[in-house]
Symmetry: C2
Subunit: 468 residues, 2 copies
Amino acid sequence: MWICELKPELGGLRDQIYTSFKEAYAAGRMKTGERLPSKRALAARLGVSAITVEGAYAQLISEGYVVARPKRGYFVADVFVGAPFVVGSALSSGLKGRYDQGKSDERVEIDLSSGMADPKTFPFATWARILRETITTRERELMTPSPSKGVAPLRAAIAEHLARFRGMSVDPEQIVVGAGSEYLYGLAFQLLGRDKRYALENPGYPKIGQVYGSLGAELSFVDSDSRGMRVVGLAESGANVAHLSPTNQYPTGAVMPISRRYELLAWASDAAERWIVEDDYDSEFRFSGRPIPTLQSVDALGKVVYMNTFSQSISSTIRIGYAVLPETLLDRFDERLSFYSNTVSTFEQHALAEFVRRGCFERLLNKRRLHYARVRTAIVENLKSSALADRCELFERDSGLHFLLKLHTSTPDAELARRMTDAKIRLTPVANFYRDPERAEPKTYLLRYSNLDPEKARIAFDRIARLL
Amino acid sequence: MWICELKPELGGLRDQIYTSFKEAYAAGRMKTGERLPSKRALAARLGVSAITVEGAYAQLISEGYVVARPKRGYFVADVFVGAPFVVGSALSSGLKGRYDQGKSDERVEIDLSSGMADPKTFPFATWARILRETITTRERELMTPSPSKGVAPLRAAIAEHLARFRGMSVDPEQIVVGAGSEYLYGLAFQLLGRDKRYALENPGYPKIGQVYGSLGAELSFVDSDSRGMRVVGLAESGANVAHLSPTNQYPTGAVMPISRRYELLAWASDAAERWIVEDDYDSEFRFSGRPIPTLQSVDALGKVVYMNTFSQSISSTIRIGYAVLPETLLDRFDERLSFYSNTVSTFEQHALAEFVRRGCFERLLNKRRLHYARVRTAIVENLKSSALADRCELFERDSGLHFLLKLHTSTPDAELARRMTDAKIRLTPVANFYRDPERAEPKTYLLRYSNLDPEKARIAFDRIARLL
């Protein structure tokens, strides 16, 4: 049984409730299926608003501790049963720069699947000012070669950001800066071992497999369900390394609940040379709740290499990502990979350090979240008032930068694709992200709005309606 | 027999003489051992100055077409006989940022083997101005993601530079920009094949083997002599790919003569999947003669991947290199590797494009060459007036940024190393660059002066003299 006690030292009221539940859960005081107090009852007892309790519950739901049963209340989730893969509830959610990034095609008039960040949201003036200041004030640092893992101020700024934004406790010594995620995948491959088998998510982001494949890794594609990569499938695959995005599976947007995270860590702990690469590429664009704890934060055995990139969150024209190594791999990195020169110029490393240190990065993320929320609302409105309104379904959750759009039509997929091309519309089928496309929901497309003008979207919706 | 005819359309007088000889050689009109006219006789006949003829001959000598025999004259070189490996004549010459770059050690007071470029020679003000202008005037380009191979203006500027500076005719489509040479070695490995055996030079630059090795390549180390990698050894190694620096072997400074270049190309042409990676890292720092034609320029069959880097020639803090692919590999690159995002930020790509386009890069190279020549002279003078003067020999050629210093002492190498460490002097033995250190000339060290203060060098020379 959970008796919620408020501990002001844990932060705001919502966080206190949230943490109190997690402690009770971790201590075994809340069992699967057990009912939580109703929002109203708990709010009354604690003397807080119902909205505060609702925020805490929403967070627990998004992390998989709790399920809401309509008209019945809140229950501790049955944590070891995977839910079936359901379009609508699980599919959709965050992605941004991923896939097809930067590809442009003159035969396309309206691109409904472009993952580029909206250049208008990039604080160019601020970035330019910091670049100028860096040139002017840091001559000596700019002429000093970077250590292999990156310059100290940037690694310190990243560590601080991870502490504030992701609740991660990381020593700057664990951080390796590199020229974008793809480069860092390659480093991970060299660090964790070329003789390993790498398990990737299916469906998933195709580039990850392309990078590992190009380097000669043996690959297994493990099915994801609504809770992320299936650990049973992972175990059966014989893989030693699992590369996945637990906070934001691509393209389904599935959030891996805490229970499966522990299952995954249990899998990794079963053998010495098992590792997890936690690709946290898009965690910045959740629209509500606070970000979900990373695998890295709950990894007691040093099995997790955490990765993220500024190319996604700032601008795809900036090629800087980073990995956080577990302490278990620090010596191995020094032995095997510290001969490498760092791949990012010292100039951009110092400028980015300032950008993060001064809070510009967090302000950019906040601004982007607001901007994208407005764009999302406008696009939904435009869809509802378009000719396509009663010929489709839109699936979305409260995080991320895409919808899934399911079209109601008897026209076969291939014919539909031909007609879209003729109409100069690009809309990517979700099937493209499956190793086995027949598993994908048919006639379902990725509608990405990070750089989509709602007015253009309306034109596209009307045009698509005429094609069905 | 060679009858030199001047053809003004071929350029300056020196170039006309040079080209006329090469045509006669290529046509078989000059045989091994045949004598060339004396400088004075040819100058008189052509009505040009003896200095002009001397310049043309020096170039032919440096490229290995011609040998000068003291008091006897100039002869066509015996092109297929490798000379023995001789310290003094062949050892020494160009290197700059290579190896140990950026490593600093507080236990070292005077570093005689640091390969860093002298920061004072970097035109920081110009670079800063171009960075500022790029920020101000290129907002749109900076927000547009780079194509996989790099932005068009940079690739065009590199192509033009290669045409002017190296006489290479390259289409910008052949150029791939990446975050430094080490990254590009990895791309070459993925492009040419993970199943290949890679032949590297012995002695050689250790990092090349570290990169290929870390990626899992099978390696062979092929002996170099005074003419560069021995093709007989290469053939025996069973390698499919030869990675070498024909214009400036490291650390010997050997320049591969044209005859051996043809041998090498002949080796590559003997099988479909044989390739050459021409690592031209330091060609900018020859002090006389014009740069030697690259393998890439004489590669008729599309077997050569040419590589160079601005991290060496501008500043090690700028991480930008490039590869020039032969046309035979363009489709393969598109198929296998164009999924990669470019690893250099668009900002630095555009800034570097301007730096090269405006001639700043060539001016920097010219300035550096003058600066290094002065430093070299001062260091030689200081050595001659130091207590070490009669306890050593200095070997150098007219190109490159290091000497070899051979110490005359009966103290064993290991004891010598211990004493140097105690005296806080760092001086790297050439043996460090050999797979089989016993092959190296004993008690011989790499004295690198690209970032060495002549006054500090004098102190070090006196200190070393007391250690012997």
